[in-house]
């Protein structure tokens, strides 16, 4: 039998070499070696996804990722250091957990800071709990993350302060960071999770983050992810969400930073009567490219899902939204609605919207919509006729357009902080 030798790109070869380097560094017989190896083998079989792979059609990683940056060195053994992380959102009174270059800092006295029955641990087994191990971005995350940080919120725990997990790129030169976080929300627990991503401007950092949120029955979750990475950053991220019976979850993604970003969401409705809302706000300018690709999988009856993604695209930036709702044969009475709306603020701005439904049950209500357009000149004229200058009138309209996606957040301080991020972007634009 002749073995097929796949032709690898320079980047793929480099990634495989990085894996070998990392393996040499990690304990030989540690837990998780098998899952890392399997993940790298899965990646080696597919390689970097390109435009002919539908899910990556608009974000061709084979052509975008030419040179993988060297892996960020291990922070193990380094003393904990104070990082001004997540401060761009102001003081939200949150419990803070900081990951620097993908690793939980030693010396953070977390146990005493975290509320009762909330635990945190790091393990070397990086196998995904719910993310699809065959997705090449997830596979790289599994193979190249140094550890998995696991946060557990006990059964029935109601957190009145948000839990803020702050991912920081601490880089002086281009580097790649792989990070993996698992959050297990116990039955009946209630939590606001804030996930922020920051890094330096002007440095071509790379990151690949996998976040998995496993929610038990009757849990209630608000999850906000803010991508505020540096202006040269290349950001890949995967969010896995699984919802138990009668669980309600709102997950909001806000894209503000990074030169190139691809955020993928895999949401699984595993318990009946679960309610999911996925919202998004993206503010794109310069030559930035931001892709949000999501799959909502209704596996059981009676689920409700809503998606509302708002994208403002200025200058030469490019936005992508791909959303798919799958309704499995037994998932009767599913109610799914998906909307993606984009505002194009310049002649050169572009947006690709691709909503899809895959329905295998017959008693369901599903719909989707996508819009793409410029600001309404009649509305602008109306505002200007009342004395409001053109730029300010535009800002008012863009603010109201984007603001709709954050309105439902129940944490008021967080909602206001996100509103200020939008206002800040609009002010820089003016």
């Amino acid at each position: 039998m002749t073995a097929l030798t796949p032709i690898r790109t320079k980047a793929e070869t480099a990634l495989l070499a990085q894996f070998e380097e990392l393996r040499a560094e990690l304990p030989k017989a540690g837990a998780g070696n098998a899952s890392r190896k399997a993940a790298m083998a899965a990646f080696a079989a597919t390689g970097l996804p390109h435009r002919r792979i539908e899910a990556y059609h608009y974000t061709d990683l084979r052509s975008l990722l030419r040179e993988p940056a060297p892996l960020a060195p291990s922070a193990a053994g380094k003393a904990g250091r104070s990082v001004e992380a997540g401060r761009f959102l102001g003081d939200l009174g949150a419990h803070e957990i900081i990951l620097v270059n993908g690793q939980l800092m030693d010396g953070q006295d977390l146990a005493s800071q975290l509320p009762k029955r909330v635990s945190i641990a790091k393990v070397t087994d990086t196998a995904p709990a719910i993310l699809d191990a065959n997705d090449p971005v997830v596979a790289l995350n599994t193979a190249l993350s140094r550890e998995t940080v696991t946060v557990k919120i006990g059964k029935g725990v109601k957190l009145d302060r948000p839990l803020h997990i702050s991912f920081v790129q601490d880089a002086g030169a281009p580097q790649a960071v792989y990070a993996h976080l698992k959050v297990v929300v116990g039955e009946g627990a209630s939590v606001t999770l804030l996930e922020t991503h920051e890094g330096p401007n002007g440095i071509a950092t790379q990151s690949n983050t996998g976040v998995e949120i496993v929610a038990g029955d009757n849990a209630s979750i608000e999850h906000v992810r803010v991508n505020a990475e540096g202006d040269k950053a290349f950001v890949l991220s995967s969010l896995g969400l699984s919802l138990g019976r009668e669980t309600s979850a709102l997950s909001l993604n806000l894209t503000l930073g990074a030169a190139i970003s691809r955020h993928q969401i895999f949401a699984r409705m595993l318990g009946e009567e679960a309610k999911l809302r996925l919202n998004g706000v993206a503010m794109l300018d310069g030559d930035r490219h931001a892709d949000v690709t999501l799959v909502v999988d209704h596996a059981v009856p009676g689920g409700e899902s809503r998606e509302l993604f708002k994208t403002a695209v200025d200058q030469r930036a490019n936005g992508v939204f791909q959303g798919k709702i799958i309704v499995r044969p037994h998932a009767q009475k599913t109610d799914g609605k998906m909307m993606s709306a984009a505002l194009l603020l310049s002649e050169d701005a572009s947006m690709n919207n691709k909503p899809e439904l895959e329905i295998f049950a017959d008693d369901v209500q599903c719909g989707h919509g996508a819009t793409c357009g410029a600001l309404d000149e009649n509305l602008l004229f109306y505002l200007m006729a009342r004395g409001i200058a053109r730029r300010d009138a535009q800002a008012l309209l863009i603010r109201s357009f984007l603001g709709e996606a954050i309105e439902e957040l129940s944490n008021e301080a967080l909602r206001e902080a996100l509103g200020e991020l939008i206002d800040g972007w609009l002010m820089r634009r003016a």
Binding site: F381, R386, G387, I388, R390, L396, S400
Partner: protein, 250 residues
Amino acid sequence: MLEIRNLHADIDGKPILKGVTLSVKPGEVAAIMGPNGSGKSTLSYVIAGKEEYEVTKGEVLLEGESLLEMEPDERAAKGLFLAFQYPLEIPGVATMTFLKAALNAQRKKRGEDEIAPADFIRSVNRAADKLGISREMLRRALNVGFSGGEKKRMEILQMALLEPRMCVLDETDSGLDIDALRIVAEGVNSLRAQNRAFLVITHYQRLLSHIVPDTVHVMADGRIVKSGGPELATELEARGYADFAAQPAA
């Protein structure tokens, strides 16, 4: 106050205004009447500065200052106000936020300080009470879910709050029932003042029995074809526009 001289304007290359000449003095209420398609609304948009109309000839002066080179917001800051025939709904923009933004933008352009929040709320509430606009309506997004009559009242509220010197009312009576018409007319009448002028554009005489004009102008085919006193409106109501529509455009 307002001086329009030989104004010509096109939309998409099609001439709509074909030499409008009109003058409105301080304190005057002038009415423009005319059949559909005569260019009445176009005139109001051109005065306010809507982009899609191209002025090919003529002048519009507000207290001697030419408006045509100004952006719509600059015209507003100079004291011009257009009450829209179809006020727009702006979802997501709270009415109070909008009113404050408009008022402060105008004050800023005139080199004045921002209004104190307490004074602002007092002025809005006072104007709203007069027009029968509830506090609940003020809490909504601008014009969203308002009836036709409520939208027109909101226009008059904005007019009262912004205190313009030159008010242009474009078919403010359209879509109003008789009660709403009376409320709106009272709102306008209470703003009549020595240093303020009105240009009331309407198809029907009925508005003018509530807002009694000093002068009436008839517009047909892009020009003012006849001017007179308030009796002209009554005359038109009886005889219709047929006499004017038949006139050649030359």
